[in-house]
Subunit: 615 residues, 2 copies
Amino acid sequence: MYRGGFTGRVLRIDLTNLTYQEEKLDPKIARQYMGGAGLGIKYLYDELEPGIDPLGPSNKLIFTLGPLTGTSSPCASRMSVTTKSPLSNTVGVALTGGKFPAELKRAGYDAVIVEGRAESPTYVYIHDGKVDFKSAAKLWGTNTFDCQDYIRAELHNPSIKVACIGPAGEKLVRYACIINERRAAGRKGVGAVMGSKNLKAIAVKGDKVRTTLADPEKFKEVQAVYVKHLKDSPYIASFGKTGTSTVLDATSAIGICSAKNYSETGAFQAAEFLGAEANAKFDLRKEHCEGCPVGCSQVRMVREGQYAGSLAEGPEFETLYSLGTTLGNTNLPSVIAGDRVCDELGLDSLSVGVTIGFAMEMFEKGVINLEDTGGMELKFGKHEVILPMLRMIAYREGFGDILAEGVKRVSEKYGKGSEKYAMHIKGLEFPAYDIRGAKAHGLGYATSYTGADHSRGYAFQEIFAIPVPYAVDRFAVKGKGKLTMWNQDVRTVTCDCAPMCAFILDMAVPDIALENTAGLVGGATGWDITPEEVYQIGERVINTARLFNIREGFTRADDTFPERIMTEPIPDGPSKGELISQSDLDLMLDEYYEARGWTKEGVPTKEKLKELDIV
Amino acid sequence: MYRGGFTGRVLRIDLTNLTYQEEKLDPKIARQYMGGAGLGIKYLYDELEPGIDPLGPSNKLIFTLGPLTGTSSPCASRMSVTTKSPLSNTVGVALTGGKFPAELKRAGYDAVIVEGRAESPTYVYIHDGKVDFKSAAKLWGTNTFDCQDYIRAELHNPSIKVACIGPAGEKLVRYACIINERRAAGRKGVGAVMGSKNLKAIAVKGDKVRTTLADPEKFKEVQAVYVKHLKDSPYIASFGKTGTSTVLDATSAIGICSAKNYSETGAFQAAEFLGAEANAKFDLRKEHCEGCPVGCSQVRMVREGQYAGSLAEGPEFETLYSLGTTLGNTNLPSVIAGDRVCDELGLDSLSVGVTIGFAMEMFEKGVINLEDTGGMELKFGKHEVILPMLRMIAYREGFGDILAEGVKRVSEKYGKGSEKYAMHIKGLEFPAYDIRGAKAHGLGYATSYTGADHSRGYAFQEIFAIPVPYAVDRFAVKGKGKLTMWNQDVRTVTCDCAPMCAFILDMAVPDIALENTAGLVGGATGWDITPEEVYQIGERVINTARLFNIREGFTRADDTFPERIMTEPIPDGPSKGELISQSDLDLMLDEYYEARGWTKEGVPTKEKLKELDIV
């Protein structure tokens, strides 16, 4: 029985020597970084040598929970995976939900730090305060579902939770993900790092010990408010009903659901074919993360035609974009089929789709031809190429071996002006939101410590017109610096550190986010923590991540966009004519750095670091 | 707690009215038919109107366990599924292992009789002495693995065992199977009957109550002898190591592993590419039925090439034939991939492969052409067609809709002399053993109550040269009548009724089979039962099944072979020149009927029925 949110125990696994040790969680660091990505970033910053190869044995793969994980707080079976990203060389953070995170907490750990590299394929089994190192020599090559099944069979326990990689992670596809159940720690190539360590899977058996709450009454009081907000939110109601496909309708309506590798938006009538109504026809059932009252995840299945029998948890909005709109593809069954295959192979469905979309535009523009693609006609709208391409990429066969490197490296290889429409920032592929029509959201991408990342500072004010902390004009450039900072800090502490589900925060409780987090975390831990201190934790995490990236050589010049965003206006639809010019970006960056107390070059000042107590 | 092998309870489920009732197992019937297929056949004979449509609501689908199921007897987590077969209109029996059978026993039932037809897709959940009828409207279309996963998720219990159909069963493919875990109740189209009843799955939660043994000391004594025999058997050792792929080597060595739809045997060097050694390279791990000390089931996975990532429990020998040798296919990865797809789609891998092989020969002989096949080049050796064909058959698309009817109906459709090489008996497709080189085994096919069925009277004397009850010459015709009767009766009572694993019986304990079964069943039930009585139960079951088939219009004329067996000698290899002529068959049938105490026309005499106490 652990009291107060934390177990107080950190598990450090050395794959090189197949040893492990338990460490105490430093209470000061816990208070300063709370948990989740904050804790992961702190470890990464403290422990990683600058300049190391993300796919070498010196990189670390850090699984972190937070004080709310495994408590009765709704939407808190969350876990962060933190590492140096092989796509961007920046901090890489990927969060996942499902049942694994709460199970890991019950196994007795706040964090698992994986170091080194096993000599041969290995999986680890964490149980009863021990770590067993098991051969994964034969498991190597399994898809993620078979892998989970067979580890449970091998360990004779159907309740064991498993997080694992598929063939894509094994083959070091730079955007490989980690899958637990049908959930992904999707982005930044965390699965490639796991593969580089010869680590096929982490299996965990919780001993059913729950962390108790330090102040249950306070906790439950805040929780009741939280649940009420969830119930009252029309967005959450729609999420519970149709999942995030509803976001495709919302973004299409305002002309920021990008299509055909950002060369279209509104002209491509995506909502009709890929929106919530279209998706609902494929509904099978809802899936819940442990303890979640919403159940945003819709399991969908294709019932007829060439993709019949394909079943996926999703597709989420971003996959509807990455295997749908950005490929010029309105065939929803192919998106569902592709989503399933991505999960099985352990591919980040977002990055892989954007990379295929980029290849399609290169193909249509003549940068590459049939010889390059090995005979594959990579034209927008040709859904028949999706499944074969996913497979070729995961196994690094033929042209797939090239696309497995991600948009940035593909464009560097082929050149010929393709860099202009290589949709990535710092190496991370673009999400669906056409930021030319949502400027603060765009500034979030430019300044995120992970690259083009919609999850590190979501501008719901622009996308859903939610006026918290104030209403904004999504086309306006001025005034976005402070807003982006607020979005990043609040999101970071609430969703990445506590951690709680991002979907729910943004659209249900942004106005009470800080109070809510203070109340729940305070109730769990016994800390006397204010909303202001909560906010400052977010800020501290962002600053620490920034220091990491600066140490890796990143500068203001990297806080930028692909040329298309800055020179090509959105060609159609309700956001037609919008772009973010270089001067727009400069203005926003100046504002943002100033709000953050950073220099004009984007470097945290000594004063700021002192204020945040960052050494 | 149930005492003495049986729970004494039978569950009758009426899908038309969505009701159920519990009945007592009649102790007299239990003693006369023991359990498993014997019990199923007795119910079928007593309860089915003659002439009913196997795919209509009047057919019944009967799941039966035996007195040993769920006891500590090794190799006894077995279950029979009995129904009127939509392939043959005869009794259809399919046995399966895995963990479902023992779980059903623990749920408190010796038998589950499913009647009628649900108005809409339904699954049943058997738990705590109750039956819940659940909608399977949304589950309809799932593959068998997803279906099991999602039922466990929906019922919030990862330990629940599920037996279900895939798309093939839903689409009434006549040789659709029922899958539990990765195991199949494979043959006779039991999955099509389940589909015709709109029954997607049976989920069961055992309450962990075990049946206790009436005479544990006697039971354990016999069990020890049994286990010793298992340990001493070189065949069982090889099964535990390489699975049934070893049978491909054994049958190839004596020239009875048929190839290319029975047009070749020895010339096709299958063992090199598809035998035990070749298979072992793909080994992932062993799988055990509950309580089995052998673990014959090998999970295999393809690690590279176009089938990389394909993982199957198997392939078993019969699948190595049906997707391998009989298709002229030496590409083992394609067999493994096809095996997996068969399990997912719920196709009997044996019948579907033989049907494709038959289509290949028709294609090569010009009976059908590209127009018939929808452009598919169905040539022997072309492994690329296997996966697409399996899919087209399961979904009844294009030419697949025709092949979904099975060899008999396909040959009736196309005619043109194709009947000669339509390899089926009574509508059931041929297994791998080229019976022209194993005459008693062939007589077993001709007289089996299910059609061409290697599992109802396996002539191990011919195939493995095991001299029990006496040594035989596999090419000889004379003297096979009595032997076949013995094989059928002993196999039926031991493997189909007790029930125990067939693999193990035939090759480890045939000499002590009757004593062993008498001892184990006697020890479990408390019956004072002799080996002679055990034998008679097998005979009684065979006679009852015969009466069922006679009532359906079957006569001596149906106890026959396809023309190829009777007119074309084996063209090559160690059994070259062998065939079973019409006069050979007549001689064997005369002998067999006489041994059975049947008339020349193959009808059980009144005296025989009286002797067996069959009313």
